[in-house]
């Protein structure tokens, strides 16, 4: 089982010595407080990095869309306009905050908070590397499916509370779309739970390997389809085009955040961009091998044995490689999400429901049956293992 952040920190001698000294100094057992501090610092770092990625996500979105449409995109603030998101942030803080007169103030304030809290809580289970996982919950994926529904509640509350017709339409569409697409996503995740034999993301990643043929996406034909079901569901969950009906700017003005101004609007946008990263990370952990590095470089044992480095440095190099592997795959998927947005036109609201209930859900159920039967018949072997058995049998048969 992959350990959490605290176990990772705890393996260093310096940390153990420091805890022992603090124990002596205060005369009581301070392990609990130190654990809390380690998690607090870890959580602050993760949130900080994620907020930056969310900000850079808005910049990347504009730059990539400009690239696709043969425009320049933001290029005034900082080199290549890379500081644009900071300028946008300053603008949002300085904007006047307007409450619609008819709005339900309490819910209006609560909605952005729910969106941010729901997204940040999902960060706890994202497996950045085997050491940098804030909480390796034994119900990880179940927790994620549950807590990410908070964003759906936030979208609906945001739309409902403003008491504006555009907001109401967007909120209703958002709520129905988010809950509908949760069904294929949940059923597709079930296939990975079946294959890995555990609900935690640690179990997901540890049962995969570093090379593509060891990933779950190429495990058997059903998981290959399953990945695309998951990816399409993911686009709809995050209200991305071609499923951006809740905020369809050409028909609903801005959808559920029409009446939001200034910082509150900024928080909604931030939550959306972080959620895309989190869901891309989940897709990577479940289907694309997560933080695994090819040839077992991630454990760092090879650096210790071949290069003669101290064990602790080898281990840290491995962690950095794992983090790099995870972030690279996630950002590649993030790019695809943006690419899809600027390539496909928005679909109609009845088509959203048709795609979900008449195509994705039956397909996800078919995959579920397929994976279950596949595991039972092949004793949990991937298609490549089956092929290698076949070739081995043919080879030995030809030799005789």
């Amino acid at each position: 089982m992959s350990p959490t952040l605290y176990d990772y920190v705890n393996q260093f001698e310096a940390h153990q010595k420091a805890v022992a000294m603090l124990n002596e100094f205060f005369g009581t057992d301070v392990t609990g407080y130190v654990t809390f501090l380690v998690f607090l610092v870890g959580a602050l770092i993760v949130v900080g990095v994620m907020a930056t990625i969310g900000g850079l996500g808005t910049y990347a979105e504009r730059k990539i869309s400009a690239d696709i449409q043969m425009r320049q995109g933001p290029n005034r603030v900082g080199p290549f306009g890379i500081l644009q998101f900071l300028a946008d942030g300053v603008k949002m803080i300085l904007k006047e905050d307007i409450y619609p007169a008819q709005a339900d103030r309490l819910l209006f304030n609560l909605a952005p908070m729910l969106a941010i809290v729901g997204v940040l809580a999902t960060l706890a289970v994202v497996p950045f590397s085997s050491g940098l996982t804030l909480a390796n919950l034994n119900v990880g994926v179940f927790f994620l499916v549950g807590i990410s529904s908070l964003v759906g509640v936030a979208v609906f509350l945001g739309g409902y509370s403003a008491n504006s017709k555009w907001s109401m339409l967007g909120g209703m569409r958002g709520a129905s779309q988010i809950i509908s697409y949760e069904v294929p996503i949940t059923i597709t995740t079930l296939t990975i739970v079946l294959l890995s034999g555990g609900l935690s993301f640690g179990a997901f990643v540890e049962t995969q390997g570093g090379l593509p043929h060891q990933w779950y996406i190429f495990h058997n034909p059903f998981t290959f389809i399953g990945f695309f079901v998951f990816f399409i569901g993911m686009l709809a969950e995050t209200n991305r085009a071609p499923f951006d009906l809740p905020e369809a700017e050409s028909e609903l003005v801005s959808g559920y955040h029409t009446e939001y101004t200034g910082m509150r609007f900024g928080l909604f946008a931030l939550a959306e961009y972080i959620e895309i990263f989190v869901l891309c990370g989940v897709a990577v952990a479940a289907f694309l091998g997560g933080y695994k590095v090819p040839f077992d470089l991630g454990s760092g044992v090879i650096f210790v044995e071949k290069l003669g480095l101290p064990a602790i440095i080898g281990k840290n190099i491995g962690q950095v490689l794992q983090l790099g592997s995870f972030v690279t795959k996630t950002l590649a998927l993030y790019y695809v999400v943006i690419w899809v947005r600027w390539t496909y036109p928005r679909i109609r609201v009845d088509q959203v429901m048709t795609i979900c209930w008449k195509y994705l859900t039956p397909l996800a159920l078919f995959n579920l049956v397929g994976v279950t039967v596949w595991m039972y018949l092949t004793h949990n072997q991937s298609i490549w293992e089956l092929f290698s058995h076949l070739f081995a049998a043919a080879g030995s048969g030809g030799g005789h």
Binding site: I93, Q102, V117, A135, N136, N163, M172, L190, M263, M375
Partner: protein, 147 residues
Amino acid sequence: MASYTLDVYMPVVILMAIGVLLVLVSVFLAQIIRPFKPSALKEQAYECGEDPVGTAWANFNVRFYVVSLIFIVFDVEGALMFPVASIFRRFVEIGEGGVLLGSLLIFIAVLVFGIVYCWSKGDLDWVRSFQLSQEQINELKGVEDKA
């Protein structure tokens, strides 16, 4: 083992607290430095420049209600399958997968039955269409002719 105590949820609580603080602090910070000049015109709900007509809290399309009902059924069924799914691999490895395979397939069959039922009832269609019988069509035509 530590992972079976509630301690492992500490990062979740910390992250949620950070989220609440992030919202409160940023909104409070904005409140100090931003301008504040409310007027009745600004506080109107946006309806593309027209004066808003009535309230948005009115009756709404019932399709959304049906979708949420279908969702609840499917989500509960999915949630019930998670425990079985998580031990299936271990049972397959010791060669006892048949029992779980059977129970999983029964569960999936119930789900498939559910979706087939909803589909045949027309609850999955966003715009429900009604096929009129020839008599009804004639009747409607008769009404039109009289008018």
